[in-house]
């Protein structure tokens, strides 16, 4: 890692091994060599030596294709646990010659080879799966090339230098949060055509109007969920760790996340209380992100049982 935050591949960091095609090529050259030697066929030897030299030169070109490559990494936006975290890996060619056939391996989807002109750079998005909330560090990325003849594969590792914030996976549905008064406010299921504000979701119960079914949630396989309406503009809610009874802390965090999302979607002013943390009442996307961030990083993203 250089001082400008860019990793430059040094000679010692490059590994190189023949590919299977390279092995076949080598065997072919050896057979041609032995045959020509045996029959004292000088032109056959000349040809075998030429092919051997080409292989040798190709090996050095393969190595040289990675040498000095500058790699920088950038984090993508925060994601929810379960979605793929995106990073951007920028490969830059700082020399006057081109670089060919550069690939990132180990990403979620096979990356297409990158060609870099002189002084050119190219950003490759690199997706990494998420499995828990917290900060997800980009793992060491592997850059490989089989340039020029697919006879050798040279590769090197660059230490991951970027992280993506992973929000907890929101629960499918959560009980409505506590209103500001401290009472457990349960909005009455209103049957009228009240075009009121959306305040949250709850699980489907027999008798609910199908008009309020959240079909999108159903399509995302979150089960049957009903949208609840009825919040006033002025309603303020507290999303509170202690208000939930779920024993598993991770499950509780997921429920809280759902509550934050629902509250934001319902345009409510809301605050959040976690053990040792309190975020004051506010509204808007900033508030939502602040809360999600706290939830993501709560207890350093650990799953140990939290104190009551």
């Amino acid at each position: 890692m250089d001082k400008d935050g860019v990793a430059r591949i040094a000679a010692k960091q490059i590994y190189i091994l023949p590919t299977r095609i390279g092995m076949l090529y080598g065997t072919t050259v050896i057979v041609m060599l032995l045959g020509s030697l045996n029959y004292q066929n000088n032109i056959g030897l000349l040809f075998a030596f030429f092919m051997a030299s080409v292989g040798l030169v190709a090996m050095h070109h393969c190595w040289y294709n990675l040498l000095g490559l500058a790699i920088s990494m950038r984090s993508g936006p925060a994601v929810f646990d379960g979605d793929a975290a995106l990073f951007e890996v920028t490969l830059s060619n700082e020399r006057a010659g081109s670089r060919y056939d550069l690939r990132l391996s180990g990403g979620l989807d096979a990356s297409t080879p990158v060609y870099l002109d002189a002084h050119d750079q190219r950003g490759i998005s690199f997706a990494q799966p998420t499995s828990r909330r917290g900060l997800l560090w980009l793992k060491d990325i592997e850059i490989e090339t089989r340039h020029p003849m697919h006879l050798f594969r040279a590769w090197c590792y660059a230490r991951g230098q970027a992280s993506v914030l992973v929000y907890p996976r929101p629960a499918v549905a959560a009980p409505p949060p506590v209103t500001n008064s401290g009472d457990t406010h349960r909005p009455a299921a209103r049957t009228g055509d009240g075009a009121d504000d959306y305040i949250g979701n709850r699980e489907y119960r027999r008798g609910d109007s199908t008009r309020h079914l959240d079909w999108k949630a159903f399509a995302r396989e979150r089960g049957l969920v009903v949208k609840q309406f009825g919040g006033d503009d002025g309603v303020e809610v507290w999303i509170d760790w202690t208000a939930l009874r779920t024993p598993d802390p991770e499950e509780r965090i997921r429920l809280l996340t759902r509550q934050v999302l629902d509250a934001d979607a319902a345009n409510l002013r809301f605050g959040m209380r976690l053990p040792g943390i309190e975020i004051g009442l506010a509204g808007g996307p900033d508030q939502m992100q602040r809360c999600l961030r706290e939830l993501a990083l709560f207890n350093d993203g650990q799953t140990e049982p939290a104190p009551h």
Partner: protein
Amino acid sequence: MAKQNLLPIDEQPERYQTLALVMTVCAAYLPLARYLNWRVSAFVALMLMLRFAAVRWPAAAPGRWLLLGLTLVGVANCLLANHTLIGKLGGTSLLATMLALKLLELRARRDHRISAIALCFVVVVQFLFDQGIGLTLYFGGIAFMIVALLVDLNGGLGSTPIRRAVPVVLRISLQALPLTIVLFALFPRLTSPLWSLGVDQDRGTMGMSESMEPGSISELVINGDLAFRARFDQHPPGSDRLYWRGLVLWEVDNRKWSPGRVGQYQTVNPELTQATERIDYEIVLEPSQQRWMFSLDLPIEHPPNTVLSSDFQLLSDRPITTAKRYRLSSALEFRTAMPAEAEQRYALRLPANTSARMITLVKQWQLETDSDWALVQQGLDFFNREEFHYTLLPPKLGANPWDEFLFETRSGFCEHYAGSFAVLMRIAGLPSRVVLGYLGGEPNRIGGYHLIWQSDAHAWVEVMIAERGWVRVDPTSAVAPFRVDNRGASRLLGAYAPARFHIDSTGVLSMAIRQLRLLADSIDAVWQRSVLDYSAAEQTRLLYRLGLADYGEFALAGIMVAAVTIVMGLILFGLIRQPDAIDPASRCFSLLCRRLAAVGLERNAHEGPLDFAARVAVARPEFSLRVNAIVALYIRGRYMPNPTAADIQSLSRLVKAFVPTRQRRSFSDTKRRKYLT
């Protein structure tokens, strides 16, 4: 097709790649068609056509079972054509068939790569048939195509792959060339083969045959092949003195002359009582599968691994299967020792069909002359005086060719003259023998050597004269020049007719053709000498010159490894030395940093340009205006999407004009350090 869709994107070949591969394979097969049985060629051609059809209509590609069937048919076809699957022809046929079949299942790029690599075998086996410079250059082109195919198949060349592949392929090939030469020169060679698959056993003998009968040399003369090349150390003698001695024939029967038991393969070195006008020269003999070698009449020194028999025949230890180069010395003026009694008696034996006419003729000469040598002259006069014709198209001779030629047909080629003259001399009691070889040769002034063609084949006679030993007599040269038939020769030989037919070749075109032919042959000779003949012997000579002969192959291998390392190091050095040309804005900025560092203002590693400029402004307020201007331009030139050339120019001008000076000593060091940190 369904299978093709399962391939990852970067393994799917482009159509042009498949086409290029198949075309390259076709080009590599083309020269092979001269050697393969027509059945094999036809099968291969059919498979290639099917392949081309499958490029156009993918549905035409055969399925797995059909391919298996075709493979069986192909192998059976090879067996039918050659009755074997091994050996030079059998193996090559099988290889060609298999590669053609492999082409029918080109799906992934991997298949293309494998086929391109397998093509190398098809190339290398063809050098067993022909090692000429033309074919070598042709296959050089094919090798280049193989490299190009592999580069293009690897991909990662951006949006215009073919245009970008060309410089890559050129760079690889050109860098591989010096390595190839080093390996070729220094890779230790085997002195004898490790195994033999009968590759060399299907060649017939070539060139001169072992015996001589009327018509045998004329046959050889019509053959336009090269017999050998000779290079003289000194000024070459005139072509009428270039009698290239080959076999000596002692035995004569009703039809033919053949080598006798006496003298042949005898290892005693013959004696010469006089040997002057010594001449040194080198010969490169084309392979003949025979043991005899040629030397200028008369050899006095012979090369190693050869035998000089008592009748001055030069014989190799082994049949000559590859071009053989040797040096030797001859005396143009010589006198041999008198042969032993037994040898003289052997050289007097007559054929059973010696006719009365022949005896009468010789008896008459004996009456007219008083010495042996005069008798010989009488015989030559006879050929000159009578209506003897020299022609390549002599009439057919019957049961008694010597007699018929002398008294009836009277037209023939050198074997007629030499054969019958020697018989006449034996009748006269003069021991005689026939020598087979070549006369003259074509000087190649471009290459500085002589070309001796099969069409220069000749036969002459040696007669034993008292006090002089064996004396060369060439009865053919006695024929009156106006009786030499040029038409037959020019019709049969064209431009290759030997000089003794005096064919008029003063036309501009024919002169030009002749010059071109000589130039081509000079190139061929250099090729032969420096590439084809390069062997363990040359390597040993090289080691001698380096004083490492004692270490043998190990020294050679050591030198090879060292040389390859050096060449590879030079290539790598060339690669790495390419300037890491950073963009002009950065270059300007680093110049600024260097100049500021020189006056004690060093940029810290973590410091961005703006922070640095701010710090400089605090430390040296008098710089701030210029430094800020430079940094602003630098940021514009370096990080804005489209920096203008004018910006870069003014940046460069500003930086070059800015030469900061060190602060006066009055500013204490401690104070400065406080400012800077």
